[in-house]
């Protein structure tokens, strides 16, 4: 049913992603769909990486670990942005289009009052792309 799964990951908070990663891996095996892990990094040095290239390498290493851990096929896509805190939605949309994903599995925060001002990324992607979106709490 699904051909390509996209999993946005925040490498600074990998510890909070466990459930989403497990869900994605299970779905991947069930539908025999490869997973593409996608990350967005600032072009300036960040806690994760000194530059986008290092970020891409770390993301690839992360993808390989996931693949061997869960026995799935995984690829990675890294995007850099001049203002990632704002551009993340648009970048995710682009990633969905470029990877041809038809299912996005992503972790979400607990909804609260600020969602009225800053809607969740998952909600935005569901609204603006053709892929199904599975938001994991």
């Amino acid at each position: 049913m699904y051909k390509q799964i996209l999993v946005p990951v925040d490498l600074t908070h990998v510890d909070r992603l466990g459930k989403a990663l497990q869900t994605a891996a299970d779905l991947s095996r069930h539908y025999d769909a490869p997973v593409c892990y996608v990350g967005v990094t600032p072009e300036t040095p960040s806690p994760v990486a000194h530059n986008p290239k290092e970020f891409a390498q770390k993301l690839e290493a992360f993808g390989n670990r996931q693949a061997s851990e869960h026995g799935i096929t995984a690829t990675t896509r890294s995007y850099s942005s001049t203002d990632p805190a704002i551009d993340i939605n648009k970048t995710l949309k682009k990633a969905v289009e470029e990877s041809g994903a038809d299912l996005v599995v992503m972790a979400s925060h607990i909804p609260n009052v600020t969602d009225y001002i800053w809607p969740s990324h998952g909600g935005w992607v569901a609204e603006h792309s053709s892929a199904s979106v599975f938001v994991v709490r």
Partner: protein
């Protein structure tokens, strides 16, 4: 502090860390144990999660609030006279220091431009720019000067041409005395001196100050992998200690200068815009009204908030481009309806006068023109320097992918020419109106007869055709420039107080935008804008010393980089 000592004891730890990949093509990465964000704390305040540098965020916010409270407690007038005296003391005592420092910045920039260091590329030898020339230039120009050009474009040249207060540049003769024009030769000489002296304050020197800060920040962030925050520049000098208190102090000072610079210019600018609106629409009550100014601050803050939430590309960049188009329209219009041929023919004469007078104007010693040298030049230098962390951080962030030579050309040389064109058209038209109409001209009455600086631009426009349209355009331009500064300033403060992270939670930049509007409004209502503006300009002196160190760090940093 314990981290710091450990780092000092074991400077060589490269063996443990894996080799870092280079950004795009070769660059000289700095290996440091410091991890960006290691000193950050992530408190949860209500529904908002924050990611802020400890202690830079807390101390900056506390110092700013304490200052505002203290100024309000002492009273606006008393504190204004204290900080006004402090600023006056600094600019008149250390005028020679500011002038020498300014000259050093220009020489360092030009030296880098012509030396092989110009071949270094920001972001690694294969990096490609994030922004087109037009978008990039619009952003750096709007951040660097924008609003100042609106305020001083007519005021400053006209002031030097006819000042009755004895502070004309280089002590030369002025063009109009007691309402009587001098003989044509003196008028022409006074005009050239006025233009040269103005372009001097808006040309190579201020842009060299910005270029040094911006280039250093860009180099240490994009090429060397250090966080995008002011302290990183000083890594070659202080080493790992930069992550401790010396660095905290530099960053706090930068936040302080930026926020107060922005808030006070927002407050004073809103008053000026209110005067402009009162003048243009014939509503005198708006001009002096604090309520009108606070409403303007609220509008500007609201627009800045929207812009901040749209991000760098959807906000500041678009606003800067709108600014460029509007400013271009205004300039072309004045050129067309003003004394067109005179201005065109004067342009090269003005540039020539700038280059021939620049040595006399930038000479730090043995001069008699205290009023000009101390009251204007040293004040400007302190002002540009106090703004440099803000403008420099912002320019640095958008300059990845440019070569150093391209960078200095576009941040130093082209803006100088653009400033000269602007001053030629705005100031040249103002002076021409005095020569044509003497005491009948609007600029004469607002600059020389009585000093109402905020109306100088509108006085000039009023004597040209279609004044009602151009004046409204000018007011819109002033407001949009303020929105742009408020937005880009908040991005910069947020980055510094988040320890160099540009992807901290968006709620933080919203906080800084609102905080700036609140500080401006409180100071406007309680009095004390002038006091805090003087205080922020006073940070120019410590920063001038810091920037001289930065020149050294920059050259060393560039020499370690591979060239194309």
């Amino acid at each position: 502090m314990s981290n710091q000592n450990e780092n000092e004891n074991q400077p060589e730890t490269e063996a443990e860390t894996e080799a870092l990949p280079e950004p795009e093509g070769a660059s000289d990465l700095i290996e440091t144990d410091y991890e960006i964000g290691q000193d950050n704390i992530t408190p949860q305040i209500g529904p908002l999660g924050l990611d802020i540098h400890n202690p830079v965020f807390a101390i900056s916010a506390a110092v700013i609030i304490a200052f505002v409270v203290a100024v309000l407690a002492v009273g606006g007038e008393a504190s204004a006279s204290f900080f006004g005296d402090l600023r006056g003391y600094l600019t008149s005592t250390f005028d020679w220091f500011f002038i020498i420092a300014g000259n050093i910045f220009v020489i360092v920039c030009l030296g880098i431009l012509v030396s092989p260091l110009g071949k270094v590329r920001i972001g690694g030898v294969d990096a490609t720019p994030d922004y087109s020339y037009a978008g990039w230039f619009a952003m750096l120009f709007a951040a660097g000067m924008g609003i100042g050009l609106m305020f001083f474009g007519v005021l400053e040249p006209v002031y030097y041409f006819g000042t009755p207060w004895g502070d004309q540049p280089l002590g030369r003769d002025i063009g109009i005395i007691d309402g009587e024009l001098a003989d044509p030769a003196t008028v022409e000489a006074a005009r050239l001196t006025a233009m040269a002296a103005t372009i001097y304050h808006w040309g190579l020197h201020p842009w060299a100050i910005y270029a040094i800060v911006a280039l250093s920040l860009a180099l240490f962030a994009y090429n060397k992998g250090l966080p995008l925050t002011v302290r990183s520049i000083f890594y070659p000098i202080f080493g790992e200690r930069i992550w401790g208190w010396p660095g905290h102090l530099i960053d706090i000072l930068a936040v302080f200068a930026t926020l107060f610079g922005l808030a006070t210019s927002l407050g004073l600018g809103a008053k000026q815009a209110a005067s402009g609106i009162g003048f243009v629409f014939g509503m005198d009550w708006v001009g002096g009204s604090i309520t009108a100014a606070v409403v303007l601050i609220s509008i500007i803050t609201l627009l800045a908030l929207i812009s901040v939430l749209r991000g760098l590309d959807g906000g500041v960049k678009i606003l800067s481009e709108i600014n460029m188009v509007l400013a271009g329209l205004l300039l072309v219009f004045i050129l067309a309806v003003g004394p067109t041929m005179t201005l065109v023919s004067q342009f090269f004469g003005n540039l020539g006068a700038y280059f021939s007078d620049i040595f006399a104007l930038s000479n730090p010693v043995g001069r008699e023109d205290d009023g000009y040298r101390q009251g204007w030049t040293a004040f400007y230098w302190a002002w540009w320097i106090s703004w440099s962390p803000f403008v420099g951080m912002f320019i640095a962030r958008v300059s990845r992918g440019r070569s150093v030579r391209e960078f200095i050309t576009c941040v130093l040389l082209i803006p100088t020419v653009v400033s000269a064109i602007w001053m030629t058209v705005f100031g040249g038209t103002g002076i021409d109106q005095i020569i044509e109409m003497a005491t009948e001209s609007g600029v004469y009455s607002y600059v020389v007869a009585s000093y109402v600086p905020e109306l100088s631009l509108f006085g000039m426009l009023a004597d040209l055709p279609l004044a009602s349209i151009t004046s409204v355009l000018a007011i819109i331009l002033v407001i949009v420039f303020f929105v742009t500064s408020s937005d880009s300033g908040s991005l910069v403060i947020d980055t510094i107080t988040a320890g160099g992270k540009i992807n901290a939670p968006v709620s933080q930049r919203v906080f800084w935008v609102l905080f700036e509007g609140v500080v401006a409004s409180v100071l406007l209502i309680g009095g004390g804008l002038a006091a805090l503006q003087a205080a922020s300009v006073s940070t120019g002196l410590p920063f001038a010393i810091v920037l001289l160190l930065a020149c050294y760090a920059l050259v060393r940093g560039l020499m370690a980089e591979p060239r194309e």
